[in-house]
């Protein structure tokens, strides 16, 4: 990864700067905000996927933890939303660490099974504990405020999310080139080789999973704060699969692929809004076609065709 890598970031930053002035109405601004939120989540998920070679089938569960932390803690315990967000992230991280440690000691795709179970359990808890979560109907989320200044609406959240996206991309590029990132990529390339050079394989996998869980939780909180309302669908199985689809289509291990995947697949449900069954079919078809014909995802495949690395 070289100077080239940052060029994409500059382009994205420029686009994000200009968009609010160019977009016709707030429907589109809302769409871009959702795309950016998904992009950040997918970046985190892709760290796990692309480098540890492991898949999380329950990542929406971590989103749910962050979202409901931001809803319940301020509402029932009077916590400041920022503190609630931190608490959600800490809880998600702790849960991820707890589950990951024994799982990563095993060889094989056990994380998929474990996260599947975890995600479903979180979803059921959220649906059942109506006193804390509002049950299947959900609950409102108090806005983030500092003194008398309240952060609400797309006017504020657009800039916050855009900034976070740029920082996330920047940090991810740096990370991949750093000794830590190199060790991660080596881990994906050959676990045995990385072990013999001193990489503590289990620990690295746990760290990366925790990181992706924390990313997800924070973005779950932000989604909740932005929308002002949270329902259990944020933590359901299909949402987890949507996230996996974004990783897959964009490219496992590709930073810009994560962004592309998020952009494409956030827009897609809008286009298919009235065709519910078709949405499921199309997502499924995309997953299958991508993995059969473009297993490396759109961005890495295109990049290879064009002759440079991504």
């Amino acid at each position: 990864m070289s100077k080239h890598a940052f060029r994409g970031l500059y382009v994205i930053a420029a686009v994000l700067l200009v968009l609010p002035f160019v977009l016709p109405n707030s429907f589109y601004v809302d769409l871009v905000i959702r795309m950016a939120i998904n992009a950040i989540i997918v970046l985190g998920l892709n760290l796990l996927f692309g480098f540890a070679g492991q898949i999380s089938l329950g990542h929406a569960g971590f989103l749910g933890i962050g979202a409901y932390a931001s809803a319940a803690l301020p509402t029932f315990l009077g916590w400041h939303p920022l503190l609630a967000m931190a608490a959600g992230a800490a809880a998600a991280g702790a849960l991820a660490a707890l589950v990951a440690r024994p799982i990563f000691r095993l060889k094989g795709q056990y994380l998929a099974m474990a996260t599947l179970g975890l995600g479903i359990i979180i979803n059921i808890v959220v649906r059942n504990e109506a006193a804390w979560t509002g049950g299947p109907d959900g609950m409102p989320v108090p806005a983030m405020a500092f003194g008398s200044f309240e952060i609400s609406g797309d006017k504020h959240w657009y800039w916050i999310v855009a900034f976070l996206l740029c920082v996330s991309i920047w940090a991810s590029i740096n990370l991949i080139d750093s000794p830590f990132g190199r060790a991660l990529r080596a881990l994906h390339g050959s676990e045995v080789a990385s072990k013999v050079v001193g990489v503590q394989v289990v620990r690295y996998k746990v760290v990366i999973f925790v990181l992706s869980a924390v990313f997800a939780s924070i973005m779950g909180s932000i989604t909740a704060l932005y929308v002002g309302f949270v329902t259990p669908t944020i933590a359901d199985f299909f949402h987890s699969i949507e996230l996996v689809t974004m990783v897959v289509i964009g490219g496992m291990g590709s930073i810009y692929g994560s962004v592309l995947g998020a952009v494409l697949l956030t827009a897609l449900p809008q286009a298919l809004a009235t065709f519910e069954g078709w949405e499921t079919v199309v997502f499924g078809a995309i997953l299958m076609l991508c993995m059969i014909f473009l297993p490396r995802g759109l961005v890495p495949t295109l990049a290879a065709r064009l002759g440079k690395g991504a």
């Binding site: 099974m113 599947l116 079919v281 499924g284 078809a285 059969i292 297993p295």
Partner: protein, 291 residues
């Protein structure tokens, strides 16, 4: 006390039988290809939904059931040919995602074709409850348990005594070696998908008179069947049956004695526990890697 326990036990074994059939399906496919087929649940759903559809078009129960087993088997074959064979050497993650995609496609198509309603089948031999030591047992439950037992025995015979069955077993132990002795491992894979789908569909059909069916009934049934397979030891046929039954029973017991609103969570707590404490399952062995 006893009556209550028996009630939960019967309902657990009934549902557990369907889980057992699903778990067998997972095991068959896993053994011939190391693929975890997340579309297994949709085969269960297809069985129930197609049986409903055919009976509603007036075909009569026996023929409908036959078709509702045969068609999913064909779907399984198509899935294998179209989505699994082309990517034979791919990483496990790739294959998992493909099967997840397939499950979405199947579910979506059924949703479009047959809608989001809930449907039922008439019980095979009536609804007259049978009394056993204070607990009630529906005749349909006996069908579920009985047919499952017969199928399991037939499968045992198939694998232990017939050439085809032994060929399939050989493929699961060592694919390359099996090919070397002339076994058509692609054919084995092909067959395993068909059998797996048929098993799932059968389980779905048997259960529909009791639990009803809908376009999204497959998700939970399939996943719980998967938990059963892992509990028994992924790849172990006997383990799959025992595991599936165990999941059903534990789920029913948990729902009855602890909390019914968390009924669905029980199998998934179970899978986490298995992965933490005994990842090879009850009957699974240990393996080592050569470096």
């Amino acid at each position: 006390m006893l009556a209550e326990f028996l009630q939960f036990l019967f309902s657990g074994i009934t549902v557990g039988s369907t889980y057992a059939l699903a778990a067998l399906g997972f095991t068959l496919i896993y053994n011939s290809s190391h693929v975890i087929n997340f579309a297994q649940g949709e085969f269960i759903m297809l069985g129930g939904m197609l049986a409903v559809y055919f009976t509603q078009t007036g075909l009569g129960l026996p023929l409908s059931i036959l078709l509702a087993i045969a068609l999913p088997a064909v779907v399984g074959l198509v899935l294998e040919k179209v989505a699994i064979e082309p990517v034979k050497g791919a990483e496990p993650v790739t294959l998992i995602i493909i099967t997840i995609g397939a499950s979405l496609v199947l579910r979506g198509l059924i949703q479009i074709w047959l809608g989001k309603g809930t449907f039922s089948l008439p019980a095979f031999s009536g609804e007259q409850p049978i009394e056993v030591l204070g607990a009630t047992l529906m005749p349909q439950s006996l069908w579920v348990m009985g047919v499952t037992a017969v199928v399991v025995c037939a499968l045992w015979y198939f694998f232990a005594r017939t050439l085809y069955g032994k060929a399939m077993l050989a493929t699961s132990y060592n694919r390359v070696a099996a090919e070397m002795v002339g076994i058509n491992t692609d054919g084995v894979l092909f067959l395993s998908f068909a059998m797996s789908a048929a098993l799932g569909a059968l389980g779905g059909i048997l259960l529909t008179p009791i639990t009803l069916t809908s376009y999204d009934a497959g998700i939970m049934l399939g996943l719980k069947g998967f938990v059963g397979a892992v509990l028994g030891g992924l790849g172990n046929g006997l383990g799959a049956v025992v595991g599936g039954l165990l999941v059903g029973v534990l789920e029913a017991m948990g729902a009855g004695y602890i909390s019914s609103s968390y009924k669905d969570a029980i199998p998934f707590v179970l899978i986490l526990l298995i992965l933490f404490f005994r990842p090879n399952g009850l009957f699974g062995g240990k393996t080592t890697d050569r470096v």
